[in-house]
């Protein structure tokens, strides 16, 4: 009986010590867990929703997104590859036309892979498509007046089993998604990435861009673990141009009589 009591006391003490440790990691002002989730693996972005409008992820009615007049004007000029306005003619998608960097939100819509490199003070994300990468310092603040860049200025933290990435400082040269929704340089992006199970990673994305949208857009996507490593999916402007001329353009010439 004495042994049983001793054992119970030890268990309680261990539990309390573990809790203190967790709270110390997460800082004095929050009780949220800062435990580090294991995000290792190759995460495959399967084909799927081309739009980030949560009311129309399939992009069947992209004009119904809650756009401001500023962004609606840009949207109406877009010649996108997917969704209701998909076209092969007069393409002005900056990725297709110039091999511009796709931007953070669109990177999660190309059917390729990405992976994390987690270090104690920084997380790196390597994306297969275009071979772009991001550097995400942990538990840091954004600079007061960041430059406007393709991939923005990101800072991260661990919170309740998720990697939370906060990004600002974007330029407005990329599209938000594959259906031609624009974004502005006021875009504020929050990504919450967490493992749902061994083979599934979930992204919850919050897009707050008051210059372009009348309300924040929040949507989720899941990615599956892949056994094969990323390949060389570089965007080469010369290859892209040759493909456009030799394969795509003939399909939009006048129909055969």
């Amino acid at each position: 009986m004495k042994n049983l009591i001793r054992c119970g006391v030890l268990a309680l003490a261990a539990t309390a010590a573990f809790q203190v440790g967790l709270e110390a990691q997460s800082g004095a002002t929050t009780a949220k867990s800062a435990a580090v989730p294991d995000l290792s693996g190759y995460w495959n972005i399967k084909g799927g929703a081309p739009s980030w409008d949560p009311a129309d992820l399939a992009g069947k009615s992209p004009k119904n997104a809650p756009m401001t007049p500023w962004s609606r004007q840009k949207f109406e000029a877009a010649r996108p590859p997917f969704g209701a306005n998909a076209t092969f003619e007069s393409v002005n998608d900056p990725v297709q036309k110039y091999c511009d960097p796709p931007g953070v939100t669109r990177l999660y819509q190309y059917p390729y892979e990405f992976l994390f490199v987690q270090t104690p003070d920084t997380v790196y994300i390597l994306y297969e498509f275009s071979r772009v990468w991001r550097l995400i310092p942990l538990n840091k603040e954004h600079p007061k007046d960041p430059d406007s860049t393709w991939m923005g200025d990101s800072v991260g933290r661990y919170e309740d089993g998720a990697l939370v990435i906060d990004t600002i400082g974007f330029n407005d040269k990329t599209w938000l998604d594959q259906v031609g929704h624009p974004h502005s340089d006021a875009l504020h992006l929050v990504e919450r990435l967490r493992r749902v199970d061994k083979d599934t990673l979930e992204l919850e994305l919050t897009i707050d861009d008051p210059k372009a949208y009348t309300k924040p857009l929040t949507a989720k996507r899941t990615f599956t673990r892949s056994a094969s490593p990323p390949t060389e999916a570089l965007c080469s402007a010369s290859e892209m141009q040759a493909f456009q001329n030799q394969v795509m353009t003939p399909t939009v010439k006048a129909p055969k009589k």
């Binding site: 084909g47 081309p50 998608d93 892209m240 003939p250």
Partner: protein
């Protein structure tokens, strides 16, 4: 010389058409509700980004030579399904299913990240599922 022929087999694939087919440029130029079977010889097989492409010399309904340009998926994505740069070569006999161009030119789409139609090369079927 073996007889080359194009067999037109229009098949309604409403289910496939409903699946967003992702690559870098969409499928707007192709009719995803139709599948055409092209039978001929490989003239050229390019295993490059942004998409692999095969050109097939076949005969049309009038018995005339016709060069088909068939678009496939990106090499990295095709490789995950078991294709490689050696999947076919010039001179191989091929029977290929493809979604034809809407405007009637001899072009088609046979693979994206979600679609992979049937390809038979020298009597051997290539992997046809992602």
């Amino acid at each position: 010389m073996k007889k080359l022929a194009i067999t037109w087999a229009c098949v309604l694939l409403a289910a496939l058409a409903a699946i967003p087919a992702f690559a870098h440029h969409g499928t707007a130029g192709y009719d995803l509700e139709k599948v055409v079977t092209v039978k001929g010889t490989v003239e050229d097989f390019e295993w490059t980004n942004p998409h692999a492409v095969v050109r097939i010399l076949a005969k049309n309904e009038k018995g005339e030579n016709e060069e088909w340009t068939i678009e496939l998926g990106a090499p990295g994505i095709m490789a995950r399904s078991g294709w490689s740069k050696n999947s076919m070569k010039q001179g191989d006999e091929v029977i290929a299913e493809t979604h034809p161009a809407k405007n009637g030119v001899p072009s088609g789409l046979s693979a994206t990240s979600t679609i992979l139609l049937k390809f038979i090369v020298n009597g051997q079927a290539l992997p046809s599922a992602h």
